[in-house]
C-alpha cells in the first residue's frame, strides 16, 4: 500500500500544467482529486514518475449556464455538482449522478475532468456525460479542441486525450428532458456493477461497466425512437456487448442486469 517513488510538481495554470506534461512525457500524470489515481499508485498498478498537481487551479472550478448549454470547469468537484442549485435547474441528471459517486470523501475531492480523463468504464459520470451528448474540451500545447463524449473513450482507462493534453471544460445541453440513472451496486461506496443513464426521454442511453468504455446503447435508443415500449427497448440493451467479469458478476448476470436496469431507467424517464 506504499506507492513507488515519484516526483511532484504543482501547476500554477492550465498552460503550466500542459508545459509540465510536455516536459515530462508519458511518465507524467495529472493529479486532480486523486481518488482514482492514488489508490492505483498505492497498489502499484500505476507508477507515474511525475505527478503534476492541477488540484489548485480554482479558475477551472465553475458551473455556468447560457445559450442552452451548461459549461463546467474540469476541476469542479463532484460535491459541487451535487449541491449546485444552478445545475439542479439546468441539468438535474448530472447533479443527481454526481451524488452517487463513491462516498462523501470521494465526492469532496474527485473532479469531473478527472473522472472523464481517468476513463474508467465503471464510473458514473462518464456514462452520464455520454448519455447527455456532452462535449469535452481538451487543451494542449497547440490550443484547445472539442471532442464529443461519444468519440472520447477508446478503451479501459484510455481516451483520445494526448499525453500533453488536459481537460479544461465539459459541456452538456441544458434541459435534457426525461432522464434517469440506475446504479446497481452492493455497497453505497462502490462502483456500479452495472449502471444505466437515460437522457432526453430515451434519446440518449448509456451503460456503465458493460464494456471497456462507457457504452452508448444505440440499439435501445433506436428502439425507443421507433416507438418500442420500454420493455422491448431494454431487451436489446446488452446485445453485441462483451461485459467484463469479476467477483460481483459474470457476463450473463451483467447482461441480465443491463436489461433490467435499462427498463427501469426508461420507465422512470417517461418511456412507457
Amino acid at each position: 500500500m506504499i506507492p513507488a517513488a515519484f516526483d511532484y510538481e504543482v501547476a500554477e495554470s492550465a498552460d503550466h500544467a500542459i508545459a509540465l506534461l510536455a516536459q515530462h512525457g508519458d511518465d507524467a500524470k495529472l493529479l486532480a482529486g486523486g481518488h482514482s489515481l492514488i489508490p492505483m499508485m498505492r497498489y502499484r498498478l500505476a507508477t507515474p514518475s511525475v505527478l503534476v498537481d492541477v488540484g489548485r487551479l480554482d479558475g477551472l472550478r465553475y458551473i455556468r449556464t447560457g445559450n442552452g448549454t451548461v459549461s463546467i470547469g474540469a476541476l469542479t468537484r463532484h460535491s459541487e455538482l451535487e449541491h449546485s442549485a444552478e445545475l439542479a435547474e439546468a441539468c438535474p441528471m448530472l447533479a443527481s449522478v454526481a451524488a452517487l459517486v463513491g462516498d462523501p470523501a470521494v465526492r469532496h475531492r474527485g473532479t469531473l475532468g478527472g473522472t472523464l480523463a481517468h476513463a474508467d468504464p465503471a464510473s458514473d459520470l462518464p456514462a452520464a456525460v455520454l448519455a447527455l451528448g456532452g462535449t469535452i474540451v481538451a487543451q494542449g500545447p497547440g490550443g484547445s479542441r472539442e471532442v464529443a463524449a461519444g468519440d472520447f473513450f477508446t478503451g479501459y482507462f484510455e481516451s483520445v486525450l494526448a499525453d500533453d493534453e488536459m481537460i479544461t471544460e465539459v459541456r452538456v445541453p441544458a434541459g435534457t428532458g426525461g432522464w434517469n440513472y440506475q446504479k446497481f451496486n452492493r455497497r453505497a461506496q462502490d462502483w456500479a456493477i452495472v449502471g444505466v443513464a437515460v437522457a432526453g426521454g430515451g434519446s440518449g442511453v448509456s451503460l456503465v461497466n458493460m464494456g471497456s468504455t462507457p457504452v452508448r446503447a444505440s440499439g435501445v435508443e433506436a428502439a425507443v425512437a421507433g416507438g418500442a415500449s420500454a420493455a422491448e427497448a431494454a431487451a436489446v440493451a446488452a446485445d453485441g456487448l462483451e461485459p467484463p467479469e469479476d467477483l460481483n458478476a459474470d457476463a450473463e448476470y451483467r447482461s441480465h442486469l443491463a436489461r433490467v436496469l435499462t427498463e427501469r431507467a426508461l420507465n422512470a424517464a417517461g418511456v412507457a
Binding site: 500500500m1 497498489y43 455497497r187 453505497a188 456493477i193 460481483n248 448476470y253
Partner: protein, 796 residues
C-alpha cells in the same frame, strides 16, 4: 433502543459515555505506527506469490541497489536467529495432531500465497516497501490444495509431504451414543440432512497489524510493542520461542484499533523483529499494509458442515449428528486447531436434544492459516443448527418460532447439563423469543409478505429467525486442561487506593476497543463510592500489569471484570479493619456505603474512605500487624463458562429481478446477563450484527483454483459500512448468571454469532415459494439471482 428500566442507583447500568473516546476521537491515542523510534530498522517482508512452490533462488540485487535498502535476507540466512524455534500452536487438540514446523520465514518451500520467503531491512518504511517489491524470487511451482474437500480427496497433493497426509486431526464428542443416535434416525418422523459452507473471512480491523522491538543492549532487555490482543501470552511465547529470559522481556500493546481475534496470535513478524533487534542492538519495526494483511494475517471460518436432525412427528428433535471439515490453512497458528472445538459443544443450539454426535476433521490447505475470528466456532455452530431448524420447521409444517418453542431448553431446566457435556448457567429462551417476536411486529410483516406473493411482486419479503446460545467467559482452567489447551483461563486484577483516595485498577484484560476503562471504573466506583473519573485503569503493558491472560472469547467482563470486583471487595475488607480501628468499633458493626464507614445504630460515628486511605498511607496508627496502604490483588479462575443467549429476527426484501437483498429491519433480544453499561452493550451488538450480516451478504475471501487470493483489497473484499447497516432494534432480557457475583455473561461476540443465520434464513424465507431452499454465503445479488433461476429451471 428505548430504555424503560428505572434509572440505576449507581453508575453500573447507566449509559455512561466512554472515557476512552476523547483521546481516540482527537487523535491523541497512540497506535503502533505512531511510535517515534530513532534509528529503527524497517522490515519489508517478501511474500510468496505462489500457493505452493519450491524456492529455487532469491535475487536481492535490484533491491540492494535502492537507496536506503541495506540487506536482503532469506529464510536460510535468518534461520540461526531462531534455530529450531517455530511459531507456537498452543492447542494440540489430540495427542496425534499433526503440527508442521512453522518457521517465521520459510526455508525451501513456500506453502501459501503470503508466506514470508525473504526479508528486506531498510532505513524507512518506504525503502522497505520498494525493496520488498524489487526482490526477485525464483519459484518452482508445486501442485496446490486449495479447497477443503479436495484436501481429503484420493490422490490429493500433500501440503506437508513429511506429514504424509493433509489430515491434521479428527476430534469428536461421540461417547457411547452411536447406536442410540442411529436408532433415533431410524425411528424419526422427520430427518433433516444439510450441507453448509462457511466461507473464509478476512478480519480487517481498522488498524492493521504492526510491531516494533526495542532492545536495551546494555542490560540485555527487550521491549516488544505490538498491535496485539494478548501482550501477556505474547510475552511468554516470545520468551519460549527465542530463549529470551522472561525477566528481560516486556510486551506493550499501545492503543489497538480492533482485533476480532486476528490479533490473538503470535506472528512471524513479532518473532522476527524481536530476534533481529536482539541481534542488531537496534529497534526493528514492521507495519502491515492492508493488502499484505489479507494473506499475512490469519483468516476466519473455512468449514464444510454436515448436520443431520432426527425429529419426531411433532418436530421435537431427538438427535443431532454433525460432521465438519475444517480448514486449518497451511500451518497451525496459536489456537487454529481449537476453533472448531469452541463450536463443537454447541451444535444442538439452545434446544433440549438428548443425543449428540460431533466429529471434526481438520485439514491442511495451501492457504493462509485460519484462527479465531469473532465468535470462533460458535457462529459456525449457530449457523448450522439455526438453518437446519428452519428446514425442520418446513418439513413439519410449522413456523420457525413454533419449531423453536417446541425444542427450547425450558426456563426451569437451569442449571442445564447439555448432551455435549456443558452446564448452562441461566436463561429463559422462550421469553427472549416472545419479546423478539413482539418487537418485530411479525403479524404485519407476514401479512405484507403474503400480499406480495399473492400479487406476484418482484420484491419479496423474508423473515429469518436465529436463536442462539454461546459459551463465553473463557474459561475454567481445569476445563481448558481437559481440552488440551496450553494455558489457563483465569484473570488477574489489582486495586490500589492512593493517599488522596484516587483509585488505580490494574487489569490483566487487554482492551482493543471494547471500553474496559469505562466499565471497570463504573464497577469500582459503585463499590467504593467514588466518582468513575477518580478511577484510572492500567492495562496492556506487562511492566505495569505483569499478570494476565488478555482479551478474547467475550471473557473480559465475566472473568477480568469479576477479578476487579473481587479485588475491590478485598480492599474494602482491609479498609474496614482500619476504619474499625479508627472508630474503636468491631468490624461486624460497620456498614460501608457511599464511600463512608458507619457504625450501625450510631450515625455520628463514621469515617470516609478518604480518611481510611490516608491513615493507611501514613501508617501512623494501624491495627497491630497490619501492612500499610490499601491494595489488593486477586486472580480469579471462573468455575464455569457463561452462556449468553438471544433471538434475532432479520427482515429482508429481495428483488427477484436482480437478486439484491436489502436488510430492512433487524430485531435483537439478547440475554448477556447483567449489563454494566448498556451503551457499550449496544455498540457491541450493533457491530456484531453487522459483522455477522457481512458474512451472510458481503464478505468472502475468494481464492482461485491456483490458490491465489482474489479479494485482496477493500474494493473486492466487501466490508459493509454504516450505509449498509440495517435499522437495529434492540432489547434485552437479562437472567443474571449465577456463575459470578455480578451476574454478567459477556456480549462481545453475540451479534456475530446470531446474525448470519438470521439473515440467510430470511433470504430463503423470501424465496421459498419460488423453490429456493438454500443460498450460499455471501448471498450476493448474483448468487441469489442464480439460486432463483436454478430453482425455477428445476421446477419447469
Amino acid at each position: 433502543m428505548t430504555i424503560t428500566e428505572d434509572a440505576p442507583a449507581g453508575h453500573v447500568g447507566s449509559r455512561r459515555l466512554r472515557k476512552e473516546d476523547p483521546a481516540l476521537l482527537t487523535g491523541e491515542a497512540k497506535f503502533i505506527d505512531d511510535l517515534a523510534l530513532t534509528g529503527a530498522i524497517w522490515v519489508g517482508v517478501v511474500r510468496s506469490t505462489e500457493a505452493h512452490a519450491d524456492i529455487v533462488g532469491i535475487d536481492g540485487s535490484a533491491a540492494l541497489a535502492i537507496d536506503g535498502v541495506n540487506e536482503v535476507l532469506s529464510g536460510d540466512d535468518l534461520a540461526p536467529l531462531w534455530g529450531e524455534g517455530a511459531l507456537p500452536c498452543a492447542w494440540p487438540v489430540t495427542p496425534d495432531m499433526k503440527n508442521p514446523t512453522h518457521l517465521p520465514v520459510a526455508r525451501g518451500t513456500a506453502k501459501y500465497v503470503g508466506d514470508a520467503v525473504a526479508v528486506v531491512l531498510a532505513d524507512s518504511r518506504y525503502a522497505a516497501a520498494d525493496g520488498a517489491a524489487a526482490v526477485v524470487v525464483d519459484y518452482e511451482p508445486l501442485p496446490a490444495v486449495v479447497e477443503i474437500e479436495d484436501a481429503v480427496a484420493d490422490g490429493a497433493p500433500l501440503v506437508h509431504p513429511d506429514l504424509e497426509s493433509n489430515e491434521c486431526y479428527t476430534w469428536g464428542l461421540w461417547g457411547d451414543n452411536a447406536a442410540a443416535v442411529d436408532a433415533a434416525f431410524a425411528d424419526a418422523a422427520h430427518v433433516v440432512s444439510e450441507r453448509y459452507l462457511q466461507q473464509r473471512l478476512i478480519p480487517a480491523p481498522m488498524e492493521p497489524r504492526g510491531c516494533a522491538a526495542v532492545p536495551s543492549p546494555a542490560g540485555g532487555e527487550l521491549t516488544l510493542y505490538s498491535a496485539t490482543q494478548i501482550p501477556h501470552i505474547l510475552k511468554v511465547m516470545t520468551a519460549v520461542v527465542l530463549g529470551i529470559p522472561e525477566n528481560k522481556l516486556r510486551v506493550v500493546a499501545p492503543s489497538v484499533g480492533g482485533g476480532f481475534g486476528c490479533k490473538l496470535n503470535v506472528y512471524a513478524e513479532e518473532i522476527l523483529c524481536s530476534a533481529l533487534a536482539m541481534q542488531r542492538g537496534a529497534p526493528v519495526r514492521w507495519t502491515e499494509g492492508r493488502s499484505e494483511g489479507a494473506t499475512s494475517t490469519i483468516q476466519g471460518r473455512g468449514q464444510v458442515q454436515h448436520i443431520e436432525l432426527a425429529a419426531d412427528a411433532g418436530g421435537k428433535v431427538q438427535a443431532v449428528r454433525v460432521k465438519l471439515l475444517a480448514d486449518m490453512g497451511a500451518y497451525l497458528q496459536l489456537v487454529t486447531p481449537g476453533v472448531p472445538l469452541l463450536g463443537g459443544f454447541l451444535y444442538h443450539g439452545c434446544y433440549d436434544i438428548g443425543l449428540y454426535l460431533f466429529e471434526c476433521t481438520a485439514v491442511f490447505t495451501n492457504r493462509t492459516p485460519t484462527d479465531a475470528y469473532r465468535g470462533a466456532g460458535r457462529p459456525e455452530a449457530t449457523y448450522a443448527i439455526e438453518r437446519a431448524m428452519d428446514s425442520l420447521a418446513v418439513s413439519v409444517g410449522v413456523s420457525p418460532e413454533e419449531i423453536r418453542a417446541r425444542n427450547f431448553i425450558g426456563a426451569d431446566a437451569f442449571p442445564y447439563t447439555s448432551s455435549a457435556g456443558l452446564v448452562f448457567d441461566s436463561g429463559d429462551y422462550q421469553a427472549v423469543l416472545d419479546k423478539a417476536v413482539a418487537l418485530a411486529g411479525l403479524e404485519s410483516r407476514r401479512a405484507d409478505q403474503a400480499r406480495r406473493v399473492a400479487g406476484g411482486s418482484s420484491k419479496r419479503i423474508g423473515i429469518g429467525f436465529s436463536s442462539y446460545v454461546e459459551m463465553c467467559g473463557l474459561a475454567p482452567s481445569r476445563v481448558l486442561a481437559s481440552l488440551d489447551y496450553g494455558a489457563g483461563g483465569w484473570e488477574a486484577a489489582t486495586v490500589r487506593i492512593s493517599p488522596t483516595c484516587k483509585v488505580q485498577v490494574v487489569t490483566g484484560s487487554t482492551p482493543h476497543g471494547q471500553g474496559h476503562e469505562t466499565c471497570w471504573s463504573m464497577i469500582v466506583a459503585d463499590k467504593l463510592g467514588v466518582d468513575p473519573d477518580d478511577v484510572e485503569v492500567l492495562h496492556s503493558d506487562t511492566a505495569v500489569s505483569p499478570t494476565g491472560l488478555d482479551t478474547y472469547g467475550s471473557r473480559s467482563l465475566a472473568v477480568g471484570g469479576t477479578a476487579v470486583y473481587m479485588a475491590t471487595d478485598k480492599v474494602i475488607d482491609k479498609a474496614r479493619a482500619i476504619a474499625a480501628h479508627q472508630l474503636e468499633a468491631s468490624e461486624e458493626d460497620l456498614e460501608f456505603s457511599g464511600g463512608t464507614f458507619r457504625v450501625r445504630g450510631t450515625p455520628e460515628a463514621e469515617v470516609p474512605l478518604a480518611g481510611v486511605a490516608f491513615a493507611a498511607f501514613t501508617a501512623h496508627d494501624l491495627p497491630d500487624g497490619m501492612e500499610p496502604n490499601l491494595e489488593a490483588h486477586v486472580t480469579y479462575d471462573p468455575p464455569n463458562f457463561t452462556f449468553p443467549n438471544g433471538t434475532h429476527i432479520a427482515v429482508v426484501e429481495v428483488d427477484t429481478d436482480t437478486g439484491n437483498v436489502d436488510l430492512i429491519d433487524y430485531v435483537a433480544v439478547d440475554d448477556c446477563g447483567v449489563q454494566i453499561n448498556p451503551l457499550i452493550v449496544e455498540g457491541q451488538v450493533h457491530g456484531g450484527i453487522l459483522q455477522g450480516a457481512a458474512q451472510a451478504l458481503y464478505e468472502d475471501a475468494v481464492y482461485n483454483s491456483d490458490g491465489q487470493l482474489v479479494s485482496t483489497n477493500l474494493a473486492d473484499y466487501l466490508v459493509p459500512s454504516a450505509a449498509e447497516a440495517p435499522r437495529f432494534r434492540l432489547d434485552s432480557h437479562a437472567t443474571p448468571s449465577p456463575t459470578n457475583p455480578m451476574g454478567v455473561k459477556g456480549v462481545g461476540e453475540a451479534g456475530t454469532i446470531a446474525a448470519a443465520p438470521a439473515v440467510i434464513n430470511a433470504v430463503v424465507d423470501a424465496l421459498r415459494d419460488l423453490g429456493v431452499t438454500d443460498v450460499d454465503m455471501p448471498a450476493s445479488p448474483q448468487t441469489v439471482w442464480k439460486a432463483i433461476a436454478d430453482a425455477q429451471g428445476g421446477a419447469s
